[in-house]
């Protein structure tokens, strides 16, 4: 990935949606699947990751000139691990119940490929401000994806959203969605939906771009 000139806002929005770390780049799947059985867990996990990502992007971008290439990755990991330790302990102190549910997965943020890849691909090459924007965007994208996962899993798996009951007491929870298979299936389902949307959009664009007077546009195949 060679550094191209991009607008600052592009750095930010790219990570949120178009290059969403989870939904598009398939990075950081482990927490995205493991701890997203409720929206609350997803949110805290997302926030913790956001904190680690921005923090380490900040530091890496700050000292990027001083890091020798050979020890680049270990250094990054060291920096990330520092922030994760901080996040881990803070979470345990602030929201002990959530921390208990997230368990070791908070500590596992340190090996979230997403964070390392942002350091490699962006923070180590760009100026501080851009790196921070990028980290904000990517982190936000991560939170968005996690909450998307959490929302489906909590609503179907428990009948609640953020703890509020949606369907009344008689709702039969689909337990599978808070179990591991439900994680895979939910993400798979989201990807199907996004792919379908993508396909629908490109085809609509094709139809719209069809020059006038050149016959009818090719019929859209039923999805």
């Amino acid at each position: 990935m060679s550094p191209r000139e991009t607008a600052p806002q592009a750095d930010f929005f790219r990570g949120v949606w178009r290059e969403n770390p989870v939904l598009i780049q398939m990075l950081g799947l482990c927490p995205a699947l493991a701890v997203t059985n409720t929206v609350e867990n997803s949110l805290w996990m997302g926030l913790a990751t956001f904190f680690v990502l921005t923090g380490s992007s900040f530091i890496v971008s700050l000292i990027k000139k001083l890091i020798p290439g050979e020890v680049r990755i270990p250094t990054f990991i060291l920096i990330i691990a520092t922030f994760v330790t901080v996040a881990d302990m803070s979470l345990e102190a602030i929201v002990p119940t959530v921390h208990k549910q997230l368990g070791a997965f908070v500590a596992l943020i340190v090996v979230n490929c997403m964070i390392l890849s942002r350091q490699e691909a962006f923070a180590a090459k760009r100026p501080l401000g851009r790196s921070l924007l990028d980290a904000f965007g990517t982190g936000l994208g991560f939170i968005v994806a996690l909450v998307m996962m959490g929302a489906i899993r909590e609503v179907l798996g428990n009948g609640t959203l953020m703890g509020f009951s949606l369907f009344g007491p008689n709702f039969e929870p689909w337990v599978i969605f808070i179990l591991p298979p439900g994680g895979f299936l939910t993400l798979g389902f989201w990807l199907l939906l996004l792919n379908w949307f993508q396909k629908w959009r490109t085809e609509r664009a094709k139809v719209r771009a069809w020059p006038e007077g050149v016959g009818a546009p090719p019929e859209r195949k039923a999805a």
Partner: protein, 222 residues
């Protein structure tokens, strides 16, 4: 993405500056961690202690105070010899009423359940062989089915006053015997795990508890 692009600045940075910067960064990181550790650790410890207190409180039916005993050298002891780290030893809590009378012991134990380890704590009166209360600390049993061992109060409350050795029975076969615990329909395994943990733990620690009680009695009867 991870192609090792040699940083162009490598030669420009004098080794001394590099070392200094890295050392500074390391120092800052270390400081940060230690600072946060110092800030959070008391809170975390307090929370853990509170949780433990609540659990013991619950299974020993609100004792006035409780002591921590350690299983060391095949015996229960409150005082550990110097140099032995108590955190790695199995602990038994002993609760007292206001008048100083011993209510019973609270023991935490775990065994493999349906999905993963089930850990629970239970209060136990050795003299009468009665379970005082039971609380599941940690389980990954099936939501809606196996997790009733934790969430179904009807199941949990049965343990109050049940007499060991416990015996799991189907609800419709129940005779009212104090040894009997009605198992959860459809979650036989999870129910059995709870019963098994208590039975096994008592079998394992029973003699120790007796020995402790005897020495305690010897100590208190002048």
């Amino acid at each position: 993405m991870t192609a090792p692009a040699p940083p162009p600045t490598k030669m420009d940075v004098p080794v001394k500056r590099l070392l200094v910067t890295l050392a500074t960064a390391g120092a800052v990181a270390g400081f940060l961690i230690v600072f946060v550790f110092g800030w959070t650790q008391p809170i975390i410890q307090a929370y853990k202690a509170e949780q433990l207190r609540l659990a013991v409180q619950e299974v020993l039916k609100a004792p006035d105070r409780f002591d921590t005993l350690y299983v060391h050298d095949g015996a229960l002891t409150a005082e550990l010899p110097a140099g032995v780290d108590g955190t790695t030893l199995e602990q038994v809590f002993v609760g007292y009423r206001e008048d100083g009378e011993r209510i019973g012991f609270a023991v935490a134990a775990g065994e493999p359940g349906f999905q993963d380890i089930v850990r629970l704590i239970f209060g136990y009166d050795r003299a009468s062989g009665t379970v005082l209360g039971m609380k599941v600390l940690e389980s990954k049993e099936t939501p809606g089915l196996g997790d009733k061992i934790e969430k179904d109060s009807a199941f949990v409350l049965q343990f109050d006053g049940a007499v060991t050795p416990l015996l799991g029975v189907k609800p419709r076969d129940a005779t009212g015997d104090l040894h009997e615990i009605d198992m959860i329909t459809g979650a036989t395994i999870s129910s059995r795990v709870v019963i098994r943990i208590i039975n096994n733990t008592i079998e394992r620690l029973g003699p120790l508890l007796d020995a402790y009680a005897a020495s305690y009695a010897a100590a208190t009867v002048p």
